[in-house]
Amino acid sequence: MMDPSDSELIERTLKGDEGAFAELVRRYQSAVWGTVHRVLGYSSENEDAVQEVFLRAYAALRRFDHRYPFGPWVTRIATNYCIDQLRRKRSRKVQLWSELREHEQERLLRDLSMERGSAEGASGTGDPEGYVRVARALLDGLNPKYRAAFILREVDDKDYSEVAAALGTSEVTARVRVSRARAELQRKFRAYLSSCGAGERER
């Protein structure tokens, strides 16, 4: 027997079939976990975020146009939710960066500005958790809209039309946001470098 299509599940959900909605959630929850984690960063609150995204989707489900795929629509709800959370709780992420000792900061910054594959560079074998910390510290300083755009494009590898769909903007706006995020990240990275006195090593 063939698995029911998304739109069949949606129809059954709207008729009151709880199991059908559970199946729909099962199909898309890992995508939503991913969006929440990548945009917001790891937190024990992510579970609440995932639930909230699907409850919002459920609340809006009867207005969902079945001709469109469900995945991008729920990604959009997730993205909106995350941006909103970032706006409300700027202090959600503790100061991971400042928790690091000065020499750790300097080493990570030096690694991150190195060419791929260099012996102690960010080749993935060095200190992945440390790099993630730096990346998170830099991302935390970005405008939530730029940050979401950057994650969708660079980390989730979505093309600009998908980024635009998730953000609810035009493709041009999506491009502008990704481009600004890239430039901002470099600017903030420089600021960190100079605060560690490691600036001359960047080039």
Binding site: G16, R38, A59, D65, R87, L112, G124, V155
Partner: protein
Amino acid sequence: MKRACALLDRYRDGELDDAGRESFERHLAGCGECRARLRLLDNLVRALKMEPVRTVDLSARIARRAFAPAPTWYTLVASCFPPRLALAAAALGVLLFVFAWFLPGSRTVSAYTEYEKLLNEAEASNLAGRLLVQNDSELLLQLISQEE
């Protein structure tokens, strides 16, 4: 910043044709600024992609919550008080109920009241034909993000 630096995004996104790519790569050889940005992005993105995403199956719990009856004013009031105060809360609730009964549209308090308000706004704007030209869910979410 040189003019060619503006092509960095197109280059990173793999959108330049062969000739464009070659000329940007010549630019890169002489532009430390662009080189540094590309290197940094490479390294940051690689680190972020390696980060494992923890997932837990929430499907049954979410479906149960979605299908639970919307909390009504008395369950909300009751949940604010310890059991010994429940009676007082119930009495207060009766008063509130009598009051609320005469307010149009406030007979139940849904967890998604604000959200539903937005849905209704979107529906109202359908009259202006706006929903005919785009997916209504997109318009909805626009309304919601404006609101936020």
